[in-house]
Symmetry: D2
Subunit: 254 residues, 4 copies
């Protein structure tokens, strides 16, 4: 499963070219793509998004990472502030964390009421179904990290002055409340996975393999047909469509 | 059914006071209200909205009348540009024409595809249910005008220089396509009326009675309890909650 | 100087028609108009704006009444939140209170620092000059009320339940700090009056005359040529272009 | 002047740490920073911005690259769409191309009228002076490339599939109209350089040296005092504050 730096760079290069080609077609066809990156702290959302978007068309690509909602926003319909950023024709919108906050950190930390959380998980399938019917292609990616690897990364983060702005007061909770986060993840995946808006799970302890598999998946999903990439190369131990068994058969971190 | 100018002014005054009192409470309680005004051309949407909002709290009341969508907006999720204006805590938002355009003028004039129209009417109940669950109180009002009265008003509009900006190139179609509009209305009401987001029908040939009954209904819906107004005064020949029979028993214009 | 209700209504009607005609031309020519209404509390800003805009083209007219700035806005360039609303081609934008807050209520109540107030009054002529060069027609209107009339209106406001949302915690200060407001007004007019962006002063104790004269002035300024209205009708005792002498010769309230 | 890859990476790392430290202080102090990157096509704006922002605080840093203006925007005050993005307290805003478009590409390609261009160059000093008075720190950077190096990069761009979205229909004009662009640049620098909003010129044929010098300059400008970086290291052959002589003494590309 290890991959040499050279082989990684070569394949990353090939995949980025394939993404550029795919996006050129998406733009020409006026298709709308919505990519959500979710996962525990340090699971690699920022790094994956950086590689995915590096060569994309700047005027047709937006990465959305919403700040803490204002009091006024907190009182609005929960999806309202996200809806403002949904893709128009020819656009790829990437959410770095998304409406699934309400089923993750908010559940674990108690940042919203039980009723708000129930409303969310009940409504999210219907909401995503509407977007799908409107021609938006949803790609939901869960980056799955193990407890040990997260501990290593959190520690490294504290020591690296370049990661100053990545640290947060909540970092300490990620390990302490590991099991609560696991339970929230399981419940979220089980209740929001659907045929039209499925979850892709990507094991992320091996960063390079994780990034390559995320990109292979995107190329497969975005390309009508792409001759330059063999998407059969997706490693099923690293990346797979969610299914309930994965929660108990050792494929996902516990 | 006729009402003297003096009696009209007196009751309008009482009702406007009741609305002011109701809104003060809504603001204090942080409630969210969404009022949609729909109806054929000249049915009296602008005039009703003017009386309703005249004394309302300017910073907690918004009247939304969206312009023709841009090409970019046309390619987005249909509800997206409306969602941006949904009420936050303590706000009353009034849509002067709303997402129901897709079930009315767009159907009659062919401004959108049959598939888009089907998507809309299928999704609107689920969409409105979500808003209701989020604590938004939806009040949907259909102003119902007769063919003869519309003809009179369209004519008067052309002759009145103050109504210059009310005329539109579509005015000619309102009478010509009367029956197509009737069918679209019937279909829309039947398919989007629900317990949590019902339609109020208001016969509008008599402008004064229409306005008073709209306001009585609003006071009734908005007030927790309002001692100064007897909402039993709503005239059931003028204003009533929609029910399918109303389409055929003579209560609505054909 | 008194005017009968009937004569008032007749002339208001004529003037509103002239405004409608003028705006139709402005839209066709793609001109940009910016109207600022300033004046002490109860001076009649809302009422004047209501008559001016009553029949205007809804999609080419915007009335802007900005709420209290957020903390983030307070830290930005002072003009930033106003600039967002400046008119595009064919639009008339009316500010109900404007950037001149910084030279009025903020000075009297100490809501901003002396330095911020100095920055403002130094920069505002250059700022308005730029807008003028960009083709925006600025019309700045100061509604001038006397101390006695303001006292009467403040009192009436408290007693009228329909004016509930017009009252504010600052109402008490208007009379108490009358002279501080007068000084702030004098200083503001002297330092921000210019050839390209002059102030119109309108005495407003007589509401009907004030409204008529505001509208006559607008018709004169907006119309290339308008045959239906004789703008010589502007009453020089009621409405006149600002000049320093007016501060001391009895034409303005002290 | 050549620098080894290893030395480059080491110094880049040091500088990025210094920028992170500086930004942490800027945020704490609530300062506002505005960085403009200008320069001919391929001069290295994107690459420089990428290194500068790589580790910055995502919620306090915005990179603005405005799309072609809409017709409505074209009719507005020229600065209006830029003003919307000016920094609030604690924010660093980076414009990837800015209002100086009007003095560069628009002049060369005739995308605006001579009058609009004259208005701009007359108003921009007063406009920037206002922002400076409002506490915004403006840092204007001109990346200066030679004709030969631009030719090489344009060619390489065409052949690199990853640069697909960097190519533009205007690329051909950059070399063809080289002298017109030079004249526009000279005129722009001469007329918009000022003590409060000076231009930094950075020779960019050597990409690595250019990036390091941009960052050294930023550290110097942003830091109240920064012990970890010796800003005397700025190479005066690569980066210097603009002065008219530089246009003729060989320091800038012709």
């Amino acid at each position: 499963m290890a991959i040499s730096k050279k082989a990684y760079k070569a394949e990353l290069h090939t995949l980025q070219i394939a993404l550029v080609e795919s996006q050129a077609r998406l733009i020409a066809q006026g298709r709308k793509v919505l990519i959500l990156f979710e996962g525990r702290d340090t699971a690699g959302k920022d790094g994956s998004i950086k590689r995915v978007t590096e060569y994309m068309a700047p005027r047709h690509t937006r990465v959305i990472s919403l700040p803490k909602p204002s009091d006024r926003e907190l009182s609005q319909w929960y999806f309202q502030r996200y809806v403002a950023h949904l893709p128009a024709a020819g656009e790829i919108v990437i959410f770095n964390r998304s409406w699934y906050n309400r089923a993750g950190v908010e559940v674990v930390m108690g940042f919203s009421s039980l009723e708000e959380q129930s409303d969310f998980i009940r409504d999210v399938p219907a909401f995503e179904a509407m977007l799908t019917e409107a021609g938006i292609v949803p790609i939901k990616i869960w980056l799955d990290i193990s407890k040990e690897e997260q501990a290593r990364r959190l520690e490294a983060r504290v020591e690296d002055p370049l990661k100053h702005f990545k640290t947060s007061p909540l970092d300490g909770e990620a390990q302490k409340r590991w099991h609560a986060y696991t339970e929230a993840r399981d419940s979220m995946l089980l209740r929001s996975h659907s045929t039209h808006a499925p979850w892709l799970i990507v094991a992320t302890d091996n960063k390079k393999q994780a990034r390559l598999n995320v990109m292979r998946h995107l190329v497969e999903r975005l390309a009508v047909r792409n001759l330059s990439v063999d998407t059969r190369a997706i490693d099923p131990d690293i990346a797979f469509m969610f299914e309930p068994e994965a929660l108990i058969d050792g494929r996902m971190a516990r």
